[in-house]
Amino acid sequence: MGSDDDVLDWLEAEAVHILRETVVGVERPVMLFSGGKDSAVMLHLARKAFAPAPPPFPLLHVDTMWKFDEMYAFRDAAAAGLDLIVHRNPEAQAAGINPFDHGASVHTDLWKTQGLKQALDAGRFDAAFGGARRDEEKSRAKERVVSVRTAAHGWDPKAQRPELWSLYNTRLSDGQTLRVFPLSNWTELDVWRYVQREGIALPSLYLAADRPVVERDGALILAHPRLPLRPGESPTVRRVRFRTLGCWPLTGAVDSQADTLDAVVAEVAAATASERQGRAIDHDPAASMERKKREGYF
């Protein structure tokens, strides 16, 4: 796997460069940290970039109250010793917003998009690191590494700064903030190979296990105690794993036998379906991600 390692070396060098350049260029950076594989890789890179000092910024988790139970425990363990900010949108909390009664769009907008904006404003953060990758989705392919947002956190694809060579422009005017994506040029498979090579800990939800699920709208949803069953639905135990971890009611599992990292790498390398196929929020109206980004979603 010599050449794969070379690509990982290059990707790592680029990501470390981006992390350092942003930290030097802005006043108050923050790193989004959900406990998913991309943010775990990003945190690992941040530790490398500033070693032997700890990463010079806090971690921020925009919680939706509907993350997988294991992610909360994993998040706290992974962030131990670092400054972790957990934000829950108080309005969404007061209104009891949830994916079942209010739908994926409203749930995502209030908990994630609005919650993120609140947390960034409250912390007066002028740059937020996110683990998004260009291979995830069409509008991500056009995203800059250093992406400027308006004072209202909106993304204007036509007003993005040209990004030449490795010269990132982190200067800000008029309430602008930055979203910075150190993993822009990584693929899902790169992330898994890197996790394997560096021995990065992840929630076991990424590995195949026998789990109770219900099949709903073509997706395998975890039969969580909080999941209201529809008439005719009854959980069945299947050997599944998760390719992405969002809110559990909105994240479909995939049938899989990959219960080790080696097996996951092999499975992802051979996969023919896209990574976000199980994510309900991407299957909203056309150009869904682009619209969400314009509204301030990561």
């Binding site: 050449s3 794969d4 070379d6 690509v7 070396d9 290059w10 790592e12 060098a13 680029e14 470390v16 460069h17 350092r20 350049e21 930290v23 030097v24 970039a49 500033f50 070693a51 032997p52 000092a53 260009r134 291979d135 069409k138 509008s139 392919a141 056009k142 400027v148 694809p157 036509k158 993005q160 700064r161 040209p162 990004e163 030449l164 060579w165 490795s166 010269l167 422009n169 200067r171 800000l172 005017s173 008029d174 602008q176 822009s184 040029n185 693929t187 996969a271 023919t272 379906a273 896209s274 990574e275 196929q277 056309a286 150009a287 682009e290 619209r291």
Partner: protein
């Protein structure tokens, strides 16, 4: 390290560019089954690369998209640059990181103006390995003769730009012939397929040459001092001697923290030295031999990327490597027409225009010519108001070595000169529309300063334009230079210890900010003589508004040239509500009561 192959694809939708990229992704196995299935049976592969809804509405590509695939175990990062004329800046952006380019032509049409424009931009941006994909071969009966004619035509053109590593390949993006697979219809063609050519791309040559590390940041942790950055060239290891630029201090490398015990080009590392040295962001660590030049004036090519035209003399932030310094374009030697390559006279550069310029920086920086190292010779210009990336430049050479001009230390200090006059130097900068009362008020203020026994002078716009600035007109570019000169003069006079009253329309915020930045902190007060246009036009003391309205006076501020009012002046005088005497009183209060 074997970096990914970075590829730019140039051409228009009409040439079949989207289809070719879709074909590459599809045949390389980079298209997920669910995305392919969404296109239905007999898929149109061009739809795989269609992007934002804003683009679909307009049927164009507005931005650079980056896509990844693997060929024979090598990672390819493809920058999909749009082919439309108005998006030169996006193509330059995509080309800036590309090692190789695929230029697409339609076999039926051959080399077009657009093909030449794209190729010029590639050459300008330093992409030296080019594949000419002669597409739609199926539409010309797979004609060997047609292919040869197009290829010869292109080669002849490319060699005039110094592009000699050109390979022409016949393809049909529609059928996939010549892309990843050979096709019997092209049995006469013996060269590489597009994918074979890509995979044969040699690694970038940045590993060669003496060691260069622009320092990004200093990592402090207890006693630890790590000088962190990405190695731009060469290699270094523990025990090797290094020098710091610009200080010239020498040390030995103690340790390299990075993926390997030695630091190699392309790696992000952190280096510790064997002795404590003062090193900060923007400095370079270099190998002891072959130091690079350090300079503060350059000749460079510049691609302009802002809606606001480039005005020579205006201050921008220049970012090169890990250094950011104020800089101004001194002169536009000419504009380059990317279609014809012609050099055209120009006083400004508009969006998507390319120029050959000279540039002056406020501080000397180490550099390598762009042709030798793109990371050490490429720079961006940042608008200091909007923070937008306004331009991208490529250094050709230094105009002079900064080491030849050193500030001469003076025996009498500015503080001593001011103390002799018993005052603190100050610039009072009066800005406002023509006829607002700037000169009247400034004259009253100076009379009162005289009464207080203070030493002053008054620089008045009309007077200076009759002497020092009589070579300047009223275009935006000349207005910028007008203010630059008067600000420098005001600065010299504060060095002499004077209170300087500057009465200039000074319509642009950027130049007033430049003037403020030129002075010592606290020695600049911006006074906005604020009169509504209707009022000054009704007064029209000099009859200028009437002439401007009649079209007999061009570029007149407030009529056909903009006035950018100060957002937070130190004092705003409402010229409609106050008499000149009352205004002068207020200004005197401000001067006499200021701290210090």
């Amino acid at each position: 390290m074997a970096a990914p192959i970075r590829l730019i694809a140039c051409g228009s939708v009409d040439d079949g560019k989207s289809t070719l990229i879709g074909r590459l992704l599809h045949d390389a196995g980079a298209v997920p089954a669910d995305q392919l299935a969404a296109l239905g049976p007999d898929p149109d592969l061009s739809l795989l690369v269609d992007g934002l809804s804003a683009e679909r509405e307009q049927g164009i590509t507005i931005d650079v998209a980056y896509r990844f695939f693997e060929l024979a175990g090598r990672r390819v990062i493809l920058a999909d640059a749009p082919g439309h004329e108005q998006y030169t800046r996006n193509m330059a952006t995509a080309a800036s990181t590309a090692d190789v380019a695929v230029v697409l032509v339609d076999a039926r049409k051959g080399v077009l103006t657009q093909t030449r424009r794209h190729t010029r931009i590639l050459a300008l941006m330093g992409v030296r390995r080019v594949l000419l994909a002669v597409n739609k071969m199926d539409q010309v009966g797979w004609s060997h003769q047609t292919f040869d004619a197009v290829a010869a035509d292109y080669r002849a053109f490319a060699s005039t730009l110094g592009l000699d590593d050109v390979t022409a390949v016949p393809v049909s993006a529609l059928t996939g012939a010549g892309v990843l697979r050979r096709d019997p219809a092209l049995s006469w063609y013996e060269g590489p397929t597009l994918s074979q050519w890509l995979v044969q791309t040699p690694a970038p040559a940045m590993a060669d040459g003496p060691f260069r590390l622009p320092v990004q940041t200093v990592i402090r942790h207890g006693e630890h001092r790590g000088f962190a950055g990405r190695v731009a060239q060469g290699a270094i290891g523990p025990g090797d001697p290094v020098r710091v630029l610009p200080s010239g201090a020498k040390a030995l490398v103690s340790a390299v923290s990075g993926p390997t015990p030695d630091a190699h080009a392309g790696q992000s590392v952190s280096i510790t030295l064997d002795r404590p040295l003062d090193v900060s962001r923007g400095d370079w660590l270099i190998s002891s031999e072959y130091p690079p030049d350090v300079a503060d004036q350059f000749e460079a090519h510049l691609v302009w990327m802002s809606d606001q035209p480039l005005l020579p003399g205006r201050v921008h932030d220049l970012k090169i490597g890990t250094t950011t310094v104020p800089a101004r374009v001194m002169e536009i030697k000419h504009r380059v027409d990317p279609n014809s390559g012609e050099a055209l006279a120009a006083r400004t550069l508009g969006l998507n225009e390319i120029g050959l310029i000279t540039l002056s920086l406020d501080a000397p920086v180490p550099f390598e010519p762009y042709a030798d190292n793109r990371d050490l010779g490429g720079f961006i210009l940042i608008d200091r108001m909007s923070s937008a990336t306004a331009g991208a430049g490529m250094i050709r050479f230094a105009l002079r070595r900064a080491t030849n001009i050193r500030p001469q230390p003076l025996s009498v200090s500015r503080a001593e000169r001011a103390a002799r006059k018993g005052q603190t130097p100050l610039v009072l900068w009066f800005t406002g529309l023509s006829g607002a009362g700037k000169s009247t008020i400034a004259n009253l203020v100076e009379l009162r300063l005289m009464e207080h026994g203070l030493h002053s002078t008054l620089l008045d716009g009309d007077n200076i334009r009759g002497g020092l600035n009589r070579d300047l007109g009223f275009t935006d570019a000349d207005r910028v230079e007008n203010i630059r000169r008067v600000a420098e003069v005001a600065r010299l006079m504060t060095d002499a210890g004077l209170i300087v009253l500057v009465s200039f329309i000074s319509p642009f915020r950027a130049e007033r900010e430049m003037a403020r930045a030129l002075m010592e902190p606290g020695e600049f007060l911006e006074i906005h003589i604020d009169a509504p246009l209707a009022l000054v036009e009704a007064r029209d003391v000099k009859g200028l508004y009437a002439r401007a309205r009649a079209g007999r006076l061009a570029n007149f501020t407030g009529i056909d040239s903009p006035y950018e009012a100060p957002e937070a002046p130190d004092l705003r005088i409402d010229a409609a509500a106050l008499t000149p005497e009352q205004a002068a009183d207020r200004i005197l209060d401000l001067i006499l009561n200021r701290p210090g």
